[in-house]
């Protein structure tokens, strides 16, 4: 279909949806729910209980939260509607909250009160010979308004263990008027001296992040710039690839290199197998130390399992150690017991397919969530046309980029009020998985790649601990090779065992000086056996960290972090400090200044490489080595980044939020390939240097090469400006702009240096709209513009027998993605159509990336 028609259809759909829905919908669920919640709590505080309850119910309908149920119940108690109060308390208890025992007692008290009232009413009726007449839907007796004089005396005696003396009886020294909760919201006294608990007044719909400080906090308090992808963003986008969800964020670079591989970096420095971002799932690192990358397609969770994704922009080594170089992405999954059950299936052109099924439940203190899924991801474009006589392919199906299935499960148990433990396990198998690999290797096939993980964790008031084991087992090869050339096949196994414990405490050291202290240690075992490594390697890493957030009154906070990591490869400790100062000009705004460093250790491929790499000459190989045979003491240094940043965040208004950051990064010691050195005559006389043909492959070594720290430095000046607007109900707009001015500093460097190597766009614009209607139609449109990019890739020059920088220019491109869905069967079912690259702007996102074209998928989901 011509491009224009698609554009028209999309525009028409969007316009129609807006016309039909304007004024009746709620867009950003969290924002809308928060507004209703605020209004409801305000009304209750003012004694307008009915209006307040209605607002809370609206908030709950938009975005369910157990505390809202509790507050509704509590408000019903205040108005004397005990039966509704019990109903909502019971719904609250279904979520197995930490205070379930207390609430259960309240329910018991209320039920006893109801029975007693009924008995008293019956007794009174019998005394006057009147048959009982209960009002429909209400309690048999409507108590007098809360706080009415004489209520305590006129009502029945207090019930329950906490009942005696709890009601703020007039004349008992209590101040007049309604009591005030901890956060200043008015709390009405319970009728009849029933202790119905206090309203849960914290703003339950306030966004919280945990990644920037290892503790739940408002983004306003986070010491780093932090972005969030919400569950709503995920659902409305219809996107089924987790990393693609992040494209809308300022400062985040997304590269679709193959159908299965999306590389993510933060504030530039993206590359094939991006290695400068640490990705966590609920705090568990999924960094593949073997190659220094995140293989997003191998995660054992799907987009349906995600509650939110937090993206911390800027160095994170002070908290997370190595490899949190220029950002941390933490995927927060839905908690066991939450999210219900359901499935989501999709099918699209080029035989793309997606499926996911999940179930979640709770039995008292025990909660679980299990999920499974599959994906069939086609390539964007083929490197090997069908019918080629001269090329052998490792995977017969050259249309597929990844075919995978996954399963994941988590079980948690609440032990007492403050302690919970849990275990999680996941497994995924990809067969095949196609990636754009590093160095001279482009199209690479992992077939199969089995990934397993098991973790256990403990959360308590002062101790947080977890341990996990990640396991990778892979067979890999070049996707294709000319007949006569090797597939460069290999087998590998990677085991990572990681244990971490931290002590957490909040305390005061003076008036208005509050600390949030985290002190912890981490141990990480890495064991890797891979055909491409000289030998099986085992590393024992240790890390120690301390984090203290010191709040000085309401407006100032100082955050200090320090982490020391022992890196076995380097045989030394690498230190990572971070300091941040926060100033709150108002309650909902923050000015932030940061200074931080981070590092990335050489991955195993860089540190311990030792393998012959096929060359275009059938019988010859290049010997790739981490440590040269003739200089075994050679050590790569870790890549380093120094950052200073100023940020401003304002979420004062219910109609918009504003986020901005201005930063300077200095990046040094990037690891790159060396030029190949020919095998020399002297090598022939050195036994440890491989110079003879391999008995197995027959390759004659011609050259050696490895890795080195680049001499050149990068100075990056950047800015990120973002705004999110909620003009009317049902409409949510966002726009952000990223400026990246990347400058190379080659002073003092010898040898060839790349002409221009920005690796990112100088200008990037993301904007979009989300729409949700009450009659079930909802969708989103996202527009992305990236200005041209200059890349310097190291390529093999056959004629010169050298590896040299080759400059590539990527033209600017735009992406317009659209999603339109319709919910039915009481919102349990949904069909959704998703179009990626609606304008069919054919482009590459990496010089060696596949050509991205338009892709369409239809999805159907059903939730139990």
């Amino acid at each position: 279909m011509p491009q224009r028609n698609w554009t028209r259809i999309a525009a028409g759909l969007l316009l129609g949806a807006v016309v039909f829905s304007a004024g009746t919908a709620a867009a950003d669920e969290r924002t809308e729910a928060r507004a209703h919640f605020k209004r409801g709590m305000g009304a209750i505080a003012d004694g307008h209980y009915d209006a307040g309850i209605e607002e809370l119910k609206k908030a709950y309908d938009i975005l369910p939260h157990p505390n809202v149920l509790y507050n509704i119940a509590r408000a019903y108690v205040d108005v004397g509607d005990l039966e509704n109060a019990v109903t909502y308390y019971r719904r609250y208890l279904e979520g197995n909250p930490k205070d379930r025992d207390e609430v259960a007692q309240i329910v018991a008290s209320l039920e006893a009160r109801i029975r007693k009232q009924q008995a008293q009413l019956l007794e009174a009726q019998q005394a006057v010979g009147i048959a009982p007449a209960l009002p429909p839907g209400g309690s048999p007796v409507s108590p007098p308004p809360a706080g009415a004089p004489g209520t305590a005396q006129a009502g029945p005696p207090p019930l329950g263990p906490t009942a005696p003396g709890l009601g703020p009886a007039p004349g008992a020294g209590a101040p007049p008027g309604p009591a005030r909760g901890a956060h200043g919201v008015a709390v009405a006294p319970s009728p009849g001296n029933i202790d119905a608990g206090e309203l849960k007044t914290e703003e339950v719909f306030e966004e919280t992040v945990v990644t920037a400080s290892r503790t739940a906090q408002s983004p306003l308090d986070a010491p780093n710039s932090t972005s969030i992808i919400t569950e709503q963003d995920i659902r409305l986008s219809g996107i089924t690839k987790i990393p693609e969800l992040l494209r809308r964020l300022a400062g985040v670079d997304i590269m679709e290199t193959t159908g299965a591989q999306t590389e993510v970096s933060i504030r530039g420095f993206n590359q094939r197998l991006s290695n400068k971002v640490l990705v966590l799932i609920d705090g568990r690192s999924v960094y593949v130390d073997l190659i220094g990358a995140t293989l997003w397609g191998t995660l054992s969770i799907g987009v349906e399992d995600i509650e939110r994704i937090e993206v911390v922009r800027g160095p994170g080594s002070a908290l997370y150690g190595a490899d949190a170089f220029n950002g941390v992405i933490n995927i927060i999954t839905k908690q066991p017991g939450e999210g219900g059950s359901g499935f989501n299936v999709g099918y699209g052109d080029r035989d793309s397919a997606h499926g996911s099924v999940w179930a979640s439940g709770r039995d008292k203190d025990l909660a679980y969530r299990i999920s499974a899924g599959f994906d069939n991801l086609p390539r964007w474009s083929r490197e090997v046309p069908a019918g080629r006589a001269d090329v052998d392919v490792f995977n017969d199906d050259q249309n597929v980029s990844q075919r995978s299935f996954r399963v994941d499960g988590t079980v948690t148990r609440q032990i007492g009020k403050d302690v919970s433990v849990g275990v999680q396990g996941g497994y995924s198998e990809s067969n095949p998985l196609e990636i754009l690999a590093v160095g001279l290797i482009n199209d690479f096939i992992l077939k199969p790649l089995d990934v397993g993980d098991v973790s256990a964790f403990l959360h308590s008031k002062h101790i947080e601990a977890r341990v996990f084991w990640n396991n990778y087992f892979v067979t890999n090869a070049n996707n294709a090779a000319y007949a006569g050339q090797s597939f460069f096949e290999g087998q590998g196994r990677l085991d990572i065992v990681d244990g971490e414990a931290q002590y957490v405490d909040q305390f005061e050291t003076g008036t208005g000086v509050n600390h949030d202290l985290h002190v912890g240690a981490e141990y990480r075992l890495k064991r890797i056996a891979w055909t491409y490594l000289a030998q099986t390697e085992t590393e024992n890493h240790l890390g120690f960290f301390v984090h203290d957030e010191i709040k000085l009154g309401r407006q100032f906070a100082v955050v200090g972090d320090y982490r020391a990591d022992y890196v076995p490869y380097l045989n030394r400790v690498v230190q990572s400090p971070r300091g941040s100062v926060l100033f709150h000009p108002s309650k909902q705004s923050t000015m932030r200044g940061i200074v931080a460093t981070a590092f990335r250790t050489p991955d195993f491929l860089e540190a311990y490489l030792g393998t012959p790499v096929p060359t275009p000459v059938s019988g010859a190989a290049l010997i790739a080595q981490g440590a040269p045979s003739d200089n075994r003491n050679f050590k790569l240094q870790p890549e380093q980044i120094f950052t200073t940043e100023f940020g401003y965040l304002n979420s004062e208004s219910d109609y918009f939020t504003l986020d901005s950051a201005f930063f300077y990064n200095r990046v040094t010691d990037l690891i790159e390939l060396t030029s190949p050195n020919p095998v020399t005559v002297g090598d022939l006389a050195t036994p440890q240097v491989p110079t003879q043909a391999s008995d197995s492959t027959g390759y004659y070594p011609l050259f050696f090469n490895g890795w080195q720290n680049a001499c050149r430095r990068y100075n990056v000046y950047g800015a990120e400006l973002g705004v999110r607007v909620f003009p009317v109900e049902g409409l949510d707009l966002y726009a952000n702009y990223t400026l990246m001015d990347v400058n190379q500093d080659t002073s003092g460097c010898s040898g060839p240096q790349p002409q221009s190597d920005t690796r990112t766009s100088e200008h990037k614009i993301n904007t979009g709209v989300q729409l949700r209607t009450k009659f079930g139609l909802d969708g989103s449109i996202d527009f992305h513009y990236l200005s041209p990019q200059d890349w310097a890739e190291q390529v093999q020059n056959i004629q010169k027998q050298d590896i040299e920088f080759q400059s590539f220019h990527l033209d600017a491109y735009t992406l317009l993605n659209a999603s339109l869905g319709y919910r039915f069967l009481r919102n349990q079912a949904e069909i959704r159509g998703v179009v990626f690259n609606l304008l069919d702007d054919l482009h590459r996102e990496h010089p060696y990336g596949q050509v991205i074209d338009r892709r369409i998928m239809g999805l159907f989901s059903y939730k139990f």
Partner: protein, 641 residues
């Protein structure tokens, strides 16, 4: 609202039908169509050696472009690709010696006989073209592709290729040491029509284009079965200068002058000056001016001009040419290092290393006459052609200082021959002097028998061993003398894809010269036969295969490596890696004869001095555009002159 609701299922339904195939990459990521050569190596020879549970050596298959084959048929110094069949795979059923204390060779333990084995091979990518496959089994396990001193088969290896076995079995070819196997063409791609530029080319080879689906030249059979019985022609060179008094050619000791040498009296002074000592090791063994003028050959003897006159003319004629002396093996002080198994070089120089060069007269079998006919050099004059052939190839090694005043920074070990569009392949062909029964260091000795038999045709007995009836090979020579022609052939055509004629331009400073006949020194006698490229005499065919036109011009300045080539392809080249340290080995320590960064022995005889250097003109007015008798070096010889 209802309309909006309907749109969703409609669009959803459309999506389900929106399938399609994955498009091919429209650009650079696509695997470009290429050629592949696939076939079988068939081995027939002795049981292989083994060690540590593995067969020693592999079967190597070398792919050469038929338009530029290796010597002696062409000039290629490296194959366009090569593949191998590992010994373990080729001899899967052969028992192996499990110990690693020695290399076990069955032949050394009385196990003789011939076995047959085969293994498949694939070589790719290969560009479209017509190729020849040369192959050998590396019986000794010494072959390495990257070093000149180990990159060819050696004595004991079993050689072969995709050859015309019927031709090899012809009576005149069996046992003929001069026989050069005929390699069958292996065509990769779709042949294109010969362009107009190919008209008249001998055995013109068309262009080949790889079709979009790629091309596999399948079922190629490579036969390996001929053991090499001679070693490579190891040598080390020295320059010669003619002593008119003694009428002998004496070795040049320290007087060679070269532009590369910063001081006069190059070697001697350099050696005596500590700061220049390292330059001494770059002083060429022989220099030749760009505008070198030689004498024209004497006229053939006639009844009027007798042999006596010829005997006087020939030395005069010959002495006007530069001379090289190639001494067998290596100097005695380098021998133990050169042959030691624990050192890198593994040269197969026997104990009597001073007499290890084989020489034999070039001859071809005339089936009509059923006899071998001698080959003359292209210039004729009854001067016989002798193997081994001597070919000098121009190196990239800089002959003039760079911007910093430093010499030899491009190629410190003088190893790399030119070969790109700016610096095309340039060769100089030498004339091997020898007669057969004894070293004959002059044309007088070599050619006189031919002259002497005037007016009769050359006597086959001079070139054929009466015992065997085959061309007469003379082994055990301790040296060869080589006359250097004052001409080069520039092959810029090798880098012009649009030109099907890959022959080069012969460049010589003078087309005519004074006759060397002392009795009648006539000027303006032809130095290059006017009919060099038109005469159908068989002796001209070799040069006609290489040269398409002749131009007068100064010779391209620079340093030239020296190659000695046997007809079976065995060869030796100086300078080679044994003689100097490459860049990553660090500068050569000439005092310790080792490399600075990676210590290993250095054989000076194989090093930087082992070159002929063409230096500036004798007449400064030559080689310029403004004046002079000799025009500048023509552009076919590249831009770096």
């Amino acid at each position: 609202m209802r309309t909006a609701r309907l749109l969703v299922p409609l669009s959803f339904g459309a999506i389900l039908f929106a399938c399609g195939s994955v498009p091919n990459d429209p650009g650079a990521r696509i695997f470009p169509p290429s050629g592949v050569i696939r076939g079988t190596v068939v081995y027939q020879g002795p049981h292989p050696c083994s060690r540590n549970g593995h067969i020693v050596g592999n079967a190597i298959v070398l792919v050469f472009d038929r338009r530029n084959p290796p010597p002696p048929g062409g000039l290629a110094t490296t194959a366009v690709n090569f593949g191998d069949v590992t010994g373990d795979r080729l001899f899967a059923n052969e028992p192996r010696y499990q110990g690693d204390d020695m290399i076990y060779c069955p032949a050394g333990h009385g196990i003789t006989g011939t076995i047959t084995a085969s293994g498949s091979f694939e070589i790719g990518p290969v560009a479209g073209g017509s190729y020849e496959l040369q192959a050998f089994f590396d019986y000794t396990g010494d072959w390495l592709p990257e070093f000149k001193f180990r990159n060819l088969p050696e004595m004991g290896d079993i050689v072969g290729g995709d050859i015309d076995t019927a031709d090899a079995l012809k009576p005149g070819n069996v046992g003929n040491p001069n026989y050069q196997p005929v390699f069958l063409p292996v065509d990769v791609g779709i042949p294109q029509a010969l362009g107009s530029g190919a008209n008249g080319l001998p055995d013109a080879i068309p262009d080949y284009v790889i079709p979009p689906a790629g091309f596999v030249a399948d079922n190629v059979t490579v036969t390996i079965g001929a053991p090499l019985t001679t070693t490579r022609p190891y040598f080390w060179p020295t320059g010669l200068q003619y002593n008119a008094t003694t009428m002998q050619y004496d070795p040049i000791e320290s007087s060679a002058q070269a532009a590369a040498n910063p001081v006069p009296d190059a070697l001697k002074n350099a050696l005596e000056t500590p700061s220049d000592r390292d330059y001494a090791y770059y002083v060429p063994v022989l220099t030749m001016p760009q505008d070198i003028q030689v004498l024209a050959p004497p006229p053939p003897p006639t009844s009027a001009v007798g042999l006596a006159s010829l005997a006087a003319a020939v030395p005069k004629f010959e002495s006007s040419f530069p001379h090289l002396k190639l001494l067998s093996g290596v100097p005695s002080n380098e021998l133990s290092t050169a042959v030691s198994p624990s050192q890198p070089f593994h040269m197969q120089i026997p104990g009597n290393q001073s007499k290890n060069i084989s020489v034999w007269a070039g001859s071809v079998f005339d089936p009509q006459k059923s006899q071998y006919v001698d080959q003359q050099i292209p210039e004729g004059n009854h001067i016989p052609f002798f193997w081994p052939a001597v070919v000098l190839s121009k190196l990239v090694d800089d002959y003039q200082p760079d911007a910093n005043g430093s010499f030899h920074t491009l190629d410190p070990a003088s190893l790399t021959a030119q070969g790109d569009p700016k610096n095309p392949v340039i060769v100089m062909l030498g004339i091997t002097e020898s007669a057969g029964t004894a070293p004959a260091d002059s044309l007088l000795g070599a050619g006189l028998p031919a002259f002497a038999n005037f007016p009769n045709p050359p006597n086959p007995a001079n070139y054929v061993d009466p015992q065997t009836g085959k061309p007469k090979a003379v082994t055990g020579q301790d040296h060869l003398n080589v006359i250097l022609r004052p001409s080069v052939i520039c092959f810029d055509t090798l880098f012009d894809a649009s030109n099907p004629d890959k022959r080069g331009t012969l460049v010589t400073p003078y087309l005519t010269g004074t006759s060397s006949d002392p009795t009648n020194p006539e000027p303006n006698q032809p130095l290059v036969p006017p009919d060099l490229l038109t005469n159908d005499d068989p002796s001209r065919q070799a040069v006609k295969n290489l040269v398409s036109n002749v131009q007068q011009g100064c010779l391209p300045k620079g340093r030239y490596a020296i190659n000695l080539v046997y007809p079976d392809g065995q060869a030796w080249t100086v300078p080679n890696e044994a003689g100097a340290c490459s860049g990553t080995e660090g500068p050569t320590d000439y005092n310790g004869l080792t490399c600075t960064l990676k210590q290993r022995p250095v054989l000076l005889s194989q090093g930087n001095r082992a070159v002929v250097e063409i230096v500036g003109p004798q007449d400064p007015s030559n080689c310029t555009r403004m004046s002079g008798k000799v025009p500048p070096t023509p552009p076919q010889c590249g831009s770096q002159q």
